[in-house]
Symmetry: C2
Subunit: 208 residues, 2 copies
Amino acid sequence: MCGVPRVSDEHLAARRQQILDAAWRCFLRNGFHATSMQDVINEAGLSVGAVYRYFRSKHELVTSIAESVLDGADELFGALAAAEHPPPLLEVADRALEFVDSQLGPDGAFRLAVQVWSESLRDPALADFVSRMYAGFRGHFVTLARRAREAGELPPDADPEAVGAVLFGLLPGYALQRLLSAGPDRQTYLTGLRAMLDQHVGHAGPAR
Amino acid sequence: MCGVPRVSDEHLAARRQQILDAAWRCFLRNGFHATSMQDVINEAGLSVGAVYRYFRSKHELVTSIAESVLDGADELFGALAAAEHPPPLLEVADRALEFVDSQLGPDGAFRLAVQVWSESLRDPALADFVSRMYAGFRGHFVTLARRAREAGELPPDADPEAVGAVLFGLLPGYALQRLLSAGPDRQTYLTGLRAMLDQHVGHAGPAR
DNA sequence: TCCTCTAAAACGAATACTCGCTCTTTTAAG
DNA sequence: CTTAAAAGAGCGAGTATTCGTTTTAGAGGA
């Protein structure tokens, strides 16, 4: 009946993060399925028991990584939509594509996102989470579309839901082309988008 | 040194297809990794030895399925681009999205495509194949963009490579929203696209 | 008489996870 | 400050299972 001889909470959180970081690197390197728990354990420099103290199963580890991947994207898209003076649509697209670019590298999160899509096709709980997050992503772009319409960038009868979905939909297409094939760079992609928008942008678009 | 008492080539091809069909269903149901060879063997109603006579390994089975998935898309996109009188861009988008829709169901190929993306991140040979196929997809849409420019649908200085990449890029974004989240339907998506294009489309666009 | 296919067993390698142990940290008493 | 005990933190050999693949021997058809 004495005090609580536990280790500090910061230590626990740090250990947990240490394992998550190791798992991130392993999953990035070999994918969810081809990565064994032993791989993560070695990468973290810990023991089997230690890892299983913080994560009850490999599935829980995969889920945690998936959540942090999607959370990262939600933060950025949310910040874009929450800006006091939302930039014109082409600049929104530029910023969003710039973020995508930053996640396309060998240690970027997008490679993990592709695996999350794949995994969510077989894991209903993960599918539910992904569904809610992507609805949120789309919601951010719908907000931006609505503001763009109010700013006169879009016809008054334009449907923000539809335009937002298209705007958001541009991103995976760009990312996949860059990741899987030798897709055009961001500038070229924006050029293509501008060619499709130019008359509207002519009197309300961004400088570049 | 007698005649060749082999079974007919049609029989061999049919058996091979029988195995591929079984693998298709299994991979669609459980994904590449969660599907065991025994699953495919049972689904095909054959024996271990029979399957291993037609496919040397599980990897070869996965590769064959991946090829047939991408070949299906290439056929349709190629047919779109090869039409004598290519339809206006919005109708092209409509046709392409209609194809995507048809592949979005529980037994559609798109769920397999997502897994191919995921798998190609770890399999260089598959990545190479996917890269070439996606470059071809984009090429078809570049062709369509070039023709649209010639038809006056796009500004004379528009870059077909860029516009084609954006057009093609719209598809995965739409498909993923439909597959993973409760994304808007095709009509709504097209509405959003039209809102972004309308002034150009006003004098050259499709009826609907 | 080949060839195809079956059925079954066996293979080694790899898997996720358990469990009893040791070590370290923390608190409380002397 | 020293000391001791309690409990959580960490360890790693071990378990049971599953995997892809090979090998066997034989049945049936062209």
